[in-house]
């Protein structure tokens, strides 16, 4: 299980990245994350929906209610232009972290310390 702070920090990049593949709704996003993390990241509604609302307030995503064939309603989210830009920014940031960590953990690295 990941640290709470790490989960919190990674929520936005993950949501942005999922939505960069197309529009999606809350439960689908939760399911996708679960699958992508091999069940390591288990998001609750209490965690995801407030984040979605904040991102919507910040203009990164937009939402629309869609009425399904069975008469039920579902709220879909999709990226806005600034959401797309933001996704690029966070991707670069996380890639930087990723690169740094990868190098650190590689077996042939020697660091000059002390």
């Amino acid at each position: 299980m990941a640290y709470k702070t790490l989960v919190a920090a990674s929520t936005k990049p993950l949501v942005l990245s999922i939505l960069s593949h197309g529009k999606s709704y809350g439960y689908q996003i939760i399911k996708n994350i679960e699958q992508l993390s091999n069940g390591e990241l288990e998001w609750t509604d209490a965690m995801l929906y407030p984040v979605l609302h904040r991102m919507e307030n910040d203009g990164l995503i937009q939402s629309e209610w869609v009425v399904l064939e069975n008469g039920r309603k579902r709220k879909y989210y999709f990226l806005t232009q600034s959401g797309k830009k933001e996704r690029e920014t966070v991707r670069r940031q996380w890639m930087n972290v990723n690169t740094a960590l990868k190098r650190l953990w590689s077996s042939n690295l020697t660091l000059e310390l002390g």
Partner: protein, 895 residues
């Protein structure tokens, strides 16, 4: 068991979300959609409906509260705790205040009655507090004031006890010698009979009546702050003088006066070197403008324990063991005084009076300046509490009375999930907001009322001295506390209703609240009634004193203060003779004593024809031959002093009617002789014959009983001249006296007053206090009326429909008026019945302060009921008439 219904379970689960304040409709729909998606998935996996529901809710909405909180945190910037999670009333205040402000604005009449009543109460209470704390702070500015005590003499002659504010000369030094507790002692005496002097510097002349001759140690005990000079040395040298900054400014226009020479009077030999300047301070029982260095020799003769009294104060050591010292005083009196006084058939005791309490203690004989009154301070402190209590009662009464109007609001709030806690918080916030607004307004009102307050109280307060940060904080804190306290009952009362009853407008616990309101109303009426009764008696007693027959004609009697100056004394006879020839003047006389001040207390010995001696206790005045004639007193037995008898009149004395009655001399008055206490060098007593009896006349305040008095021909020196001016010739008369004065004493100011003015000034303090009391009482009654008017309007509002139905059924307006006013009138009568015995007790106690007072009559009690009735009836009639004359259809329309 009922089969599991998935739809119903989902609905119930979602309903729990609606109670959460952090969730809005759109959010809840989304959560519901998600929940359904999860359930669908579990169902697809083959779970039973119930299990699918349980598993889905576990992941979706396990805790609705947590979801709501997360939504709040996500939407607010940086706030960690949603306001509804913060349970303290204080944290709820800001949002509650917003709602309260809307409520106050919605109910304008209710709010303005409450706010104005409370604001006026705050303002007046604050000003009264300023008055009370001013009076209580006398002499506390001096360092070590708690260790300073005045030595008083308690002498009992002929069973009559008299307490003197000064004592025999050796008492102070002997106390210091014998008791290690006494660290320092000071003695001083006043200058002249009225401790006044005329200071002269070049062509500036200043008259001061705050001048004393003091021993060198004076400033070591009275640690008055000095702006120049050394307290240990300032009065050490002869002919030194220490003056106040105010006097220095008047004489020299500067306070840089050290070493300068100051003349006292026109006698060139009386010049003093200024060796110190003290700060001015008005809050002291002993205001000083000048201290002249004096050495008071220690008398050692046999009669040293009586006569030639000096004011004596002791400074105790750091332990300040006053109780220990007081226990040793009886032995001290036994050792030094008892032997001497027992020979005279008298008893003596020494009293030690704390410096800080002198100003508010009762005045003893020979006090230097008038005192304040502890009773007045207590009365004002009680008034202060009355005001606050009545304003709080108003609030509680109006708030509970208006509960019907707010019932539905409470019901709806409860149904929507408001907790009792938050409702109580809301109502308390409302009263706190109201009290805070009143607090601010109160401060503003007190600034507006300050000039009037200064005039009424005789204080000289400025806005800067009263509106200080601690005072303003104090008022606002008090408003907070009052807001909390008076908001608590209505809050708990309103919240106690069941939501369903509240929504239907049923006042479930109405009866107990009604009883409580009735109780408060009765208390308010009672307090007001006590005040009105008190005021009526106070007014009656004042008129009684002012108009009391004083035994002589005080109108057109001019009084001249004669400076204690040898230059003046030499020419006095010439001056009086000049006045004797003036056409507008009917008589001229002089005296040692003033008619507007106390007479000297004395313990003369009288002897009957057959040689029996009688020790008496009498006042004494020393006057000129024509005194009784000039003041238009009356001789009722014997004769007056006669100039034609020349020197033989030195052996004559007059006594008054009170003396005759006290000692039962009705038949033998003019055969009595006044005998000296001691024999002369030839072993003979000195005798004076009682030549006549004068009808009683007052000396000093006329509320004091006329005491036995003997009148001697004056040999002590003239302090006062009294001139009788003929009727209708007052202006001419004063002109003639003034021109004669200026002709005889060109260098001296013409300082005159009329005796009735002087006598009225004795009552200035009483009058001022009465004015203050009147204004405060009026305000208290006004605030009570405000509350009652508010209550009446609410009561009638609540009974509007009843009135309408009664009208439809044929009731006349007068019948409706009678029916509805019955409750208020009966409460008023009950309150007055409760108030009467209290008022009776208080008035009786107060009247005991006066030797001569009015009788307790019944009419003020009835009049007070009538006044309260008038106020109530006026309010009742107005509101009832409005309600009763409204078309019944209007009142019933919304049913």
């Amino acid at each position: 068991m009922e089969p599991f219904n998935l739809e119903k379970a989902i609905e119930e689960r979602i309903r729990t979300l609606w109670k959460q304040q952090g969730l809005e409709p759109g959010f809840i729909e989304e959560i519901e959609a998600n929940l359904r998606d999860r359930i669908d998935e579990y169902l697809e996996k083959g779970y039973r409906e119930e299990d699918a529901f349980i598993l889905a809710t576990e992941k979706s909405i396990l805790s609705p509260e947590d979801i709501a909180d997360e939504y709040f945190i996500a939407r607010s910037d940086g706030k960690k705790t949603p306001p509804w999670k913060n349970r303290s009333i204080l944290s709820m205040m800001p949002s509650n205040f917003k709602v309260s402000w809307r409520n106050l604005r919605k109910r304008k009449i209710y709010s303005s009655i409450n706010i104005s009543g409370l604001a006026i109460s705050f303002a007046i209470s604050f000003l009264l507090w300023i008055y009370v704390s001013d009076q209580l702070s006398y002499d506390q500015h001096l360092d070590d004031s708690q260790r300073v005590y005045r030595v008083n003499y308690d002498l009992t002659f002929d069973g009559q006890k008299s307490v003197y504010s000064n004592v025999a000369q050796p008492i102070g030094p002997t106390l210091k010698e014998e008791f290690p507790e006494v660290e320092e002692v000071i003695r001083f005496y006043k200058r002249g009979s009225d401790h006044s002097a005329e200071f002269i510097h070049e062509d500036v002349q200043v008259q001061s009546n705050k001048v004393f001759y003091a021993e060198a140690s004076f400033l070591k005990v009275f640690k008055i702050e000095m702006t120049a000079g050394n307290p240990d040395e300032a009065l050490a040298e002869p002919n030194s003088i220490v003056i106040s900054e105010a006097l220095a400014n008047k004489l020299f226009s500067t306070t840089e006066v050290m070493g300068k020479i100051l003349k006292v009077g026109h006698d060139a030999s009386r010049a003093f070197k200024i060796t110190g300047v003290i700060k001015d301070h008005s809050r002291t029982h002993l205001p000083i403008e000048a201290l002249i260095s004096a050495s008071i020799p220690l008398r050692t003769d046999e009669n040293r324990w009586l006569g030639g009294h000096v004011y004596t104060y002791v400074l105790l050591n750091d332990l300040n063991d006053i109780d220990g010292l007081k226990q040793k005083i009886p032995a001290f009196c036994q050792k030094h005084l008892n032997g001497f006084f027992e020979k005279k058939g008298a008893k003596a005791n020494i009293l030690l009076q704390p410096l800080e309490s002198i100003y508010l203690d009762e005045e003893h004989i020979w006090e230097l300046f008038p005192h304040g009154s502890r009773t007045n301070v207590q009365v004002m402190a009680v008034m202060m509490l009355f005001l606050i209590v009545i304003a709080c009662i108003n609030y509680v009464n109006l708030a509970t009375a208006s509960s019907a109007e707010r019932m539905k609001e409470v019901g709806i709030r409860k149904v929507l999930g408001s907790s009792k806690h938050s409702l109580i918080g809301q109502f308390i916030s409302e009263s706190v907001l109201l009290a805070l607004i009143s607090g601010f307004l109160g401060i503003a009102f007190s600034i507006v009322l300050l000039p009037l307050f200064n005039e009424l109280s005789g204080l000289h307060m400025s806005i800067e001295t009263i509106i200080t940060l601690p005072n303003a904080t104090g008022i606002l804190l008090l408003s907070l506390i009052i807001g909390f306290l008076s908001g608590a009952y209505p809050a708990f009362y309103l919240v106690s209703f069941e939501s369903s009853n509240a929504l239907k407008g049923k006042l479930g616990k109405g009866r107990s609240s009604n009883r409580f309101r009735t109780l408060l109303l009765i208390s308010q009426y009672s307090l007001s009634s006590i005040l009105v009764i008190g005021m009526l008696f106070v007014g009656k007693q004042t008129r009684f004193i002012m108009n009391k027959e004083i035994g002589y004609n005080k109108t057109n009697l001019l009084s001249l203060r004669i400076p204690n100056d040898p230059v003046v004394n030499d020419k006095l006879e010439v001056f009086m003779n000049t006045l004797g020839n003036k056409s507008s003047l009917a008589g001229v006389t002089s005296s040692y004593n003033s008619l507007s001040e106390e007479a000297n207390a004395n313990d003369p010995v009288f002897e009957t024809v057959d040689g029996q001696t009688i020790n008496t206790s009498m006042n004494r005045i020393d006057v000129d031959v024509d005194f009784i004639k000039t003041i238009e007193g009356a001789i009722i037995i014997g004769r007056d002093f006669e100039k034609s008898r020349g020197e033989s009149e030195r052996h004559a004395v007059l006594i008054n009617e009170a003396a005759v009655k006290q000692y039962g001399w009705e038949d033998i008055a003019t055969s009595m002789r006044l005998r000296s206490r001691d024999r002369d060098e030839n072993g003979e007593y000195y005798y004076q014959n009682v030549i006549g009896v004068v009808s009683d006349f007052s000396i000093g305040p006329s509320y004091q009983k006329v005491a036995p008095l003997m009148i001697n021909l004056n040999e002590w020196g003239v302090n006062n001249i009294y001139v009788r001016i003929r009727e209708n010739e007052v202006i001419n008369g004063v002109d003639q006296i003034e021109s004669a004065w200026k002709e005889t004493f060109p260098n001296y100011a013409f300082d005159f007053s009329f005796l009735n003015q002087e006598l009225n000034s004795i009552y200035a303090r009483e009058n001022r206090f009465l004015d203050l009391l009147r204004v405060v009482s009026f305000l208290i009654i006004f605030i009570t009326s405000l509350g009652i008017i508010g209550l009446i309007s609410f009561t009638i509002e609540m009974r509007r429909k009843e009135i309408a139905i009664r009208k439809i059924n044929g009731a006349s307006i007068s019948k409706i008026l009678a029916l509805l006013s019955r409750k208020f009138i009966s409460l008023l009568v009950i309150a007055n019945c409760i108030a009467a015995p209290f008022a009776f007790y208080f008035v009786k106690q107060w009247l005991l302060n006066y030797d001569q007072h009015i009788d307790l009559t019944l009419w003020p009690f009835f009049l007070s009921t009538a006044i309260c009735l008038a106020f109530t009836s006026l309010a009742l009639t107005y509101h009832l008439f409005q309600a009763a004359t409204t078309n019944p259809v209007e009142s019933l329309r919304n049913e």
